[in-house]
C-alpha cells in the first residue's frame, strides 16, 4: 500500500503522464446514483438515460445508412441478362402508394407532437411534486389530457397504416423478392417499423408503470427518453420516405 506523506511537497517527473494537477476539478463525471440527501438522484438518472439514448441512436443510424448505401450502390449496378448475356440496367422503380404513406407520415408527425406534450406534461407533474407534498397547499385540478395514450394509439395507427401500404404494394405487384427496388422498400419500411414498435412497447410500459408501483420520477425518465426517441423515429422515417420517393 502506498504510504506517501501528503505534507511533503514534491516535483512532478518530466515524463509525460496524464494530469499532474493536484487539485481535483469540481467534477470529473457522474457521482453514482446519489442525491444530496443520499436518495436516488432522478435528475442524474435522466441525464444518463438521455446520454444513453443519444449513444444508442448511432448504431441505428449506421444500420439505416448501411441499407441506404446498399440501395444506392445496387441502383447503379448493371445486371447480367440471362437471355442476351449482356449487362443491362434493370432497376425497376416501385410504384409507391404515396397518398397512404403521406397519411402515415402525418400520423407519425402528430404522434411525435403528442409524445412531446406527454413529455412536458409529466415533467410539469414532477416539478410540482414538492409543492403538492406541502400540507394544505392545493394547485387545483389540472386537466390531464392522455397525451401518452394518444401517442400509443397514433403509433399503432402508423404501424397499421404501414401494413396497409404493404398490402397496396402487393396489390400493385411488388413483393419482397419481385425486384431489388421492392426488396429495399420492404426492408427499410419493416426495419423502421420494428424500431417504432419498440418505442410503442416502451410507452406501453410507461403507461403501465404506475400500476407496477414505479414512482412518477421514474416514469418521467421513461417518457422523456421515449419522446426523444419518437422524434428521432419521425426524422428517420422522413429520410426513408424521401429516399424511396425521390431516389427511386
Amino acid at each position: 500500500m502506498a504510504t506517501f506523506i501528503p505534507a511533503v511537497e514534491i516535483r512532478a517527473p518530466q515524463g509525460g503522464h496524464g494530469g499532474s494537477d493536484s487539485h481535483p476539478p469540481l467534477r470529473g463525471g457522474g457521482d453514482g446514483e446519489r442525491g444530496r440527501n443520499g436518495g436516488p438522484d432522478f435528475g442524474q438518472r435522466l441525464r444518463r438515460a438521455r446520454l444513453g439514448l443519444a449513444v444508442a441512436t448511432a448504431p441505428i443510424v449506421m444500420l439505416f445508412v448501411s441499407f441506404a448505401s446498399a440501395y444506392i450502390f445496387r441502383q447503379g449496378l448493371p445486371t447480367l441478362d440471362d437471355k442476351s448475356q449482356a449487362y443491362v440496367r434493370e432497376w425497376m422503380p416501385v410504384n409507391l402508394p404515396v397518398t397512404l404513406l403521406l397519411v402515415n407520415t402525418i400520423l407519425l408527425a402528430v404522434s411525435s407532437l403528442t409524445a412531446e406534450l406527454a413529455r412536458r406534461q409529466i415533467t410539469r407533474q414532477v416539478a410540482l411534486l414538492p409543492v403538492r407534498s406541502i400540507p394544505g397547499v392545493s394547485l387545483g385540478r389540472e386537466t390531464k389530457f392522455p397525451w401518452l395514450g394518444s401517442t400509443v394509439v397514433l403509433g399503432i395507427g402508423f404501424l397499421i397504416g404501414q401494413a396497409f401500404a404493404w398490402r397496396e404494394l402487393a396489390a400493385r405487384g411488388f413483393y419482397l423478392a419481385t425486384s431489388a427496388s421492392s426488396s429495399f422498400v420492404y426492408l427499410l419500411m419493416a426495419t423502421h417499423a420494428v424500431h417504432l414498435a419498440g418505442g410503442v412497447a416502451v410507452l406501453l410500459y410507461a403507461a403501465a408503470a404506475s400500476l407496477l408501483g414505479k414512482s412518477l420520477e421514474s416514469r418521467r425518465i421513461v417518457v422523456d427518453v421515449t419522446a426523444w426517441y419518437w422524434h428521432f423515429m419521425l426524422v428517420l422515417w422522413a429520410g426513408i420516405f424521401a429516399l424511396l420517393e425521390f431516389a427511386s
Binding site: 504510504t3 467534477r27 453514482g32 449513444v55 426488396s183
Partner: protein, 582 residues
C-alpha cells in the same frame, strides 16, 4: 495505506444480491458479469484452439484417423476453418478484452460503483451467451457447420445448396452473428455512457488510465461497426430464406440456374469489411491499453507521452474506418480506389509507431520488474511489431495480389490480431487476477507458460510468411499432393508439432488459474504497487466497489518514481500536493 481522498455515499445503483441466481447467474454486478464474459471466452478459446489443432493435424497428415472424429474430409476442414475463425474473432478476441476485463475494471478504474445501465449489462452478457450456443449448435444440425469462412463471402454464403454446411448450419451461423451484434451494441452503449457520465470527481478524461481510453475507443468502434455487420447479416438472411437478391447475381450451381438475379457479392464484402477492419482494432486496442498500463507499472516510470498515446488510440480508431477496401484488392476495384485505401492503410503505421516507440520509451532506463504480467506485456509489444511489420506489405495492391490467398496473410493476421491480442489477455489475467480472486497466481508456472507460448507462437506463425511467399495457398484442405509444395511439408510438420506443444502449454495456464483461485498465496490490496483506483479498494472489491465510499482523484494514472515522494508511486486518489515544474 496512503492518505486517500474518498467521499462517503450511502446508495448504490442496485442493492447487493442475495440468492445464488441473482448473485452469480443473472447478476447486475459488473464484476460478476465481467467474470462471466471471461469464462465464456475461456471456454470459447479452448473450443477454437482444438479446432485449429485438428486443422493443423489434417494439413500435414490428411489421411490420419482422429479418435472420435475419424478422417477429416475436405468439407469438414472448411467447417473447422469457419468455426475456428468465428469463435476466435467474436467470442474470444471481442468478448474477453472488452466484455471481460473492460466490464470488470472500467467502472472501478474511473471510480464508479457500477456500469451506467446494469440491467442492459446483464442482458448484453446473456445475449452473447445465446449467440455462442446458437453458433455451437451449427456443428450438430444436418449438414454440419458452414463452409464459407468467418468472412462469409457471398454468393457461397447466400445460397443454401452450395455445400453440406450451407443449409441450416449457415443460417445458425448468421443468426449467431446477428445476435452477437445486438449484444455488442448493448455493451458498447454501456461502456460509452459509463465513461462519459460516471467518472469520479477529479477523474478528468486526461487522467483516465490508458486501459479506460482503449476500452472507450473500442466501444465507439463497436458502436459504429456492429450496426453495419447486423445490416449485412439481415440482407444475407433475406437472400437465403426469402428469395431476395441483394448479394446473389445470376448464378448456376451444380448445373442449376438459381432464381436470383442482379445481386452483388461485392456489396457483402463492402459491408462486411466496413465492420471487419475496425474489428481488428476492437480486438487489439484493449491489449494496447493493458500493455501501456503494465509497461509503466512494471518499469516504475510514467508512461512515455500519455497524451500522444491517447491521440494515437483515437487516430488508429478513426483510420480503422477508412481502410476496409484493403481487404478487397483482389475484387477488381479501381486502381484509384486501391491507391486511396493503400495510402490510408499505411497511414495507420504512424500512430502504431508512436505507440510502439512510446512503449519502448517507457521501459527505457526503467527499473523493470520482470514478473509474469510484464513478460506478457513485453511479448505483446514484440508480437504487435512482428505482426504489424507485414501489414505495410499487404497494404500495397501489387504485393497483396500475389500474397492475398496464401499463408502469408494467415501468418500476418494471426500474429497481430490473434496472438498479440491473446498476449494482452494473458497479461491482463496475470495482472488483475489478485484483484479478481484475492490470491496470486503461481509466478514460476506463469513464466514457463510465457516462454513456451512465446516461442510456440512464433514457431507456428512466422514460418507462414515464408510458406506464403513460397506459394502455399490458404483455405486449401490438402496440399501434400501438390508437387511444387512437397519441399514445404517438413516446415508444415514442424509448425504442427509447435502447435501441439503450444496448445499443451495452455493447460499450464488453466491449471495455474484454477489452482491459484483456491490455493494461491493471499494477495494484498495492491501487490504490484500500482496507482490506479482498482488498487485502492479491497481485494476482491466489495459489491459497490469502494465500500460505501467514492474516490476523489488528484493525479494522473502513472505517477511512478516521483522525485521527493516517500515511495516510487502515488495513488490516483492520494491528496498529496504535486508541484509541476514543467
Amino acid at each position: 495505506m496512503a492518505a486517500q481522498d474518498v467521499h462517503a455515499h450511502t446508495a448504490h445503483a442496485h442493492a447487493a444480491p442475495q440468492g445464488f441466481v441473482r448473485k452469480y447467474v443473472f447478476s447486475l454486478d459488473h464484476k460478476v458479469i465481467g467474470l462471466q464474459y471471461f469464462f465464456l471466452a475461456l471456454t470459447a478459446v479452448f473450443v477454437g484452439m482444438i479446432l485449429s489443432l485438428l486443422m493443423r493435424i489434417h494439413l500435414v497428415w490428411p489421411g490420419a484417423a482422429i479418435p472420435l472424429i475419424g478422417e477429416i474430409k475436405p468439407e469438414t476442414y472448411l467447417s473447422l476453418l469457419t468455426m475456428h475463425g468465428t469463435i476466435m474473432v467474436f467470442f474470444v478476441l471481442t468478448t474477453a478484452p472488452q466484455g471481460g476485463f473492460g466490464n470488470y475494471f472500467l467502472p472501478i478504474q474511473i471510480g464508479a460503483p457500477d456500469m451506467a445501465f446494469p440491467v442492459l449489462n446483464m442482458l448484453s452478457f446473456w445475449t452473447t451467451f445465446v449467440a455462442f450456443v446458437v453458433l455451437i449448435c451449427a456443428f450438430f444440425v444436418t449438414g454440419g457447420a458452414p463452409l464459407h469462412g468467418w468472412t462469409g463471402y457471398a454468393p457461397l454464403s447466400a445460397l443454401t445448396n452450395t455445400g453440406p454446411g450451407e443449409q441450416l448450419g449457415a443460417d445458425l451461423w448468421i443468426t449467431s452473428i446477428a445476435i452477437f451484434c445486438v449484444a455488442s451494441l448493448m455493451g458498447a452503449l454501456n461502456f460509452i455512457t459509463t465513461t462519459l457520465d460516471l467518472r469520479a470527481k477529479g477523474m478528468t478524461m486526461m487522467r483516465m488510465p490508458l486501459t479506460v481510453w482503449s476500452w472507450f475507443i473500442t466501444a465507439i468502434l463497436g458502436l459504429l461497426a456492429f450496426g453495419v455487420l447486423l445490416s449485412a447479416g439481415i440482407l444475407l438472411l433475406l437472400d437465403r430464406n426469402l428469395g431476395t437478391s441483394f448479394y446473389i447475381p445470376l448464378v448456376v450451381v451444380n448445373g442449376q440456374v438459381m432464381g436470383h438475379k442482379g445481386g452483388s457479392p461485392l456489396l457483402w464484402q463492402h459491408l462486411f469489411w466496413f465492420f471487419g477492419h475496425p474489428e481488428v482494432y476492437i480486438a487489439i486496442l484493449p491489449g494496447m491499453g493493458v500493455a501501456s498500463q503494465l509497461l509503466s507499472t512494471f518499469s516504475r516510470k510514467p508512461i512515455f507521452g500519455y497524451r500522444a498515446m491517447v491521440y494515437a488510440i483515437m487516430a488508429i480508431g478513426f483510420l480503422g474506418f477508412m481502410v476496409w477496401g484493403h481487404h478487397m484488392f483482389m475484387s477488381g476495384m479501381s486502381p484509384y480506389s486501391a491507391f486511396a485505401f493503400s495510402l490510408m492503410t499505411m497511414a495507420i503505421g504512424v500512430p502504431s509507431a508512436i505507440k510502439t516507440f512510446n512503449w519502448l520509451g517507457t521501459i527505457h532506463r526503467g527499473r523493470v520488474r520482470f514478473q509474469t504480467p510484464m513478460l506478457f506485456a513485453i511479448g505483446f509489444v514484440s508480437l504487435f511489431v512482428s505482426g504489424g511489420l507485414s501489414g505495410p506489405f499487404l497494404a500495397q495492391p501489387t504485393l497483396d495480389i500475389p500474397l492475398h490467398d496464401t499463408a502469408f496473410v494467415v501468418g500476418h493476421f494471426h500474429l497481430i490480431m490473434g496472438v498479440a491480442a491473446i498476449f494482452g489477455m494473458f497479461a491482463a489475467t496475470y495482472y488483475w487476477f489478485p484483484k479478481m480472486f484475492g490470491r496470486m497466481m503461481n509466478e514460476r508456472w506463469g513464466r514457463i507458460h510465457f516462454f513456451i507460448t512465446l516461442v510456440g507462437a512464433y514457431s507456428i506463425f512466422m514460418p507462414m510468411h515464408y510458406l506464403g511467399m513460397a506459394g502455399q495457398p490458404r483455405r486449401y484442405s490438402q496440399f501434400t499432393e501438390l508437387a511444387y509444395l512437397h519441399r514445404l511439408i517438413p516446415l508444415n510438420t514442424f509448425m504442427t508439432y509447435a502447435a501441439i506443444v503450444t496448445i499443451a502449454a495452455q493447460f499450464i495456464f488453466v491449471i495455474n488459474l484454477f489452482w491459484s483461485m483456491k490455493k494461491g498465496p493471499k494477495a494484498s490490496d495492491n501487490p504490484w504497487e500500482a496507482t490506479t483506483l482498482e488498487w485502492t479498494t479491497s481485494t476482491p472489491p466489495p459489491h459497490d466497489n469502494f465500500g460505501g465510499m467514492t474516490p476523489v482523484v488528484h493525479h494522473g494514472p502513472y505517477e511512478y518514481s516521483v522525485p521527493g515522494a516517500a515511495r516510487d508511486f502515488i495513488m490516483q486518489n492520494d491528496p498529496a500536493t504535486v508541484t509541476t515544474s514543467h
